[in-house]
Symmetry: C2
Subunit: 313 residues, 2 copies
């Protein structure tokens, strides 16, 4: 699939009214530590606390007239549930969100702040999928996948569009890889809007499916999901993997203690609260800082939804 | 004393190389909560984690040639110690910092990162003053007071200069009052650079010396310093009080639970780490939000140096 600059700008223009233009922050502490100029794109200051509202806003905006009338459904207990809940209210579209019954109260509440249909199901993947499918059929809904959906990916491209608009001379953008929706959107933006910026993925060693997928050329899966970066436990999908294969040449894998250390730096030194998945990208930069010496590096902070009572630091 | 727009811009230009231009952030959560447009000036992202480096940078810049050669001295165990330590290194001026021997290790270390002379003394005010005075005389140094010094105050004016440059149509700026150096600087900037912006002070009820001073017309003192906002326990001085008397017409007093609530909002809802003294200004806005309905309100976040292990939230 080919995309144009006009399309990316059009998408950005369309979803602008529903999202925040998040700030790009710089910190002497990090620039000195890494010997380069780092530009943090702060999606932890985004509506609903993560970038997912960009994805959801564009997916809703792109629906057929019929689907807009009938409504949408997703299953998620994480940031995409919040993003879709908020976006659906802003665009006045009916949304169903399927969540496992054992999801933490706090996550249910953050979705119930919005006027949506919350459906609880047993906590197995089968139950989630069956429940989703039943309600979808019953109500003739459109399913939106949190990461493996081209409109979700293009919604995420707006992070790259904004970052490169403000800092067109970036040499690199580092972003975390989980389901692959975030990085493939940013990679599309960078490919079209910059003639030199390279997008690098960062992933926890414990769930290095994307690293292995890039190496083997086919989608690999994780045997366990034993990482603190709870947003990055998912696997790539058949829509985003071809984009990643084409546009991403490198993925850095980081250890759990490196993620925790980066989280500590964010909260203690930079005064910014982020979620563990967001610490991953900074951890990658610190681990490989000699590669980025004197360069201009964008780092995507994907979100800030973290339980402060259970900080690992 | 009269100041001009040219002077304020000149001061800003002079200290620019030594400080960060801190971001001004907006949050839907706060705008919705308070029914107004709030612009947070984030000095918690400033070098050394607080606005004090603005004060120190201008005080050093304004020294006589002789004092620049001999050096400066202050006594502080708080943000001014760090601000002066960093600023003195950046301007290559010898600095002596007197700290009580029982100051927390973490505070000593944050000053010892810089190339300065740290002098420890007994923890009484008398010991501090005597030690400072002895070393000052021995080394022929210039004393810089953290808040009651006109160059310190003018250094702080740059917060107002930057905020009003970006948002010239602010109706109000809310800032915490402790020693009075921060708010008097901002009030000078607002008085000169805006024809409508009113600067409002916010102070913990437990240390309402400024509120009482403004009422009685003379400097009042606190009987106790029993507030979580450790940066605001000090009293006004003879240099900043006349400015405050002339330019500040209103001080809001907030209770300790209101400060803690505002701190909770910052960290949990806005993903921004601030120190208790900074939460005070937001607490004042929330307490009196009906007064600011539909207005444009700047709120100064003075710093982010807080011990995360001892958060009151």
């Amino acid at each position: 699939m080919e995309f144009s600059k006009d399309l990316l700008l059009e998408i950005h223009k369309h979803i602008k009214p529903f999202i925040n233009r998040t700030p790009v922050l710089q910190f002497d502490f990090i620039n000195n530590l890494c010997n380069c100029n780092v530009y943090f794109k702060c999606e932890n200051f985004q509506k609903t606390g993560s970038f997912k509202i960009r994805a959801a806003s564009n997916a809703l905006k792109s629906l057929s007239k019929k689907s807009k009338e009938k409504g949408v459904i997703t299953h998620s207990s994480g940031n995409f549930a919040q993003g879709l809940a908020c976006a659906s209210n802003l665009q006045n579209i009916n949304a169903y969100i399927v969540m496992p019954e054992n999801a933490p109260r706090i996550k249910k509440n953050s979705v119930l702040k919005y006027d949506i249909n919350l459906i609880e199901c047993k906590s197995t993947l089968e139950a989630r999928e069956e429940t989703t499918s039943n309600i979808l059929l019953e109500n003739d809904l459109h399913f939106i996948h949190p990461s493996n959906d081209i409109d979700v990916i293009l919604g995420n491209s707006t992070i790259g569009t904004e970052l490169l608009e403000e800092h067109p001379d970036l040499d690199y953008i580092l972003a975390p890889i989980g389901g692959g929706g975030l990085i493939s959107g940013i990679a599309i933006a960078s490919d079209i809007l910059s003639n030199k910026c390279e997008v690098i993925g960062v992933e926890p060693k414990q769930v290095d499916d994307a690293y292995r997928s890039l190496k083997s050329g086919k989608i690999e899966y994780n045997a366990s999901t034993n990482t603190i970066a709870d947003g990055l436990r998912t696997n790539l999908g058949d829509i985003n993997f071809p984009i990643i294969k084409k546009l991403i040449s490198k993925i850095i894998c980081v250890k759990e203690d490196e993620i925790i250390n980066a989280m500590k730096i964010f909260i203690e030194k930079l005064n910014v609260v982020i979620e563990p998945s967001s610490a991953v990208a900074l951890a990658g930069l610190i681990a490989k800082k000699e590669l980025y010496k004197n360069k201009k590096v964008g780092v995507v902070i994907s979100g800030g939804n973290v339980d402060l009572d259970n900080l690992p630091i």
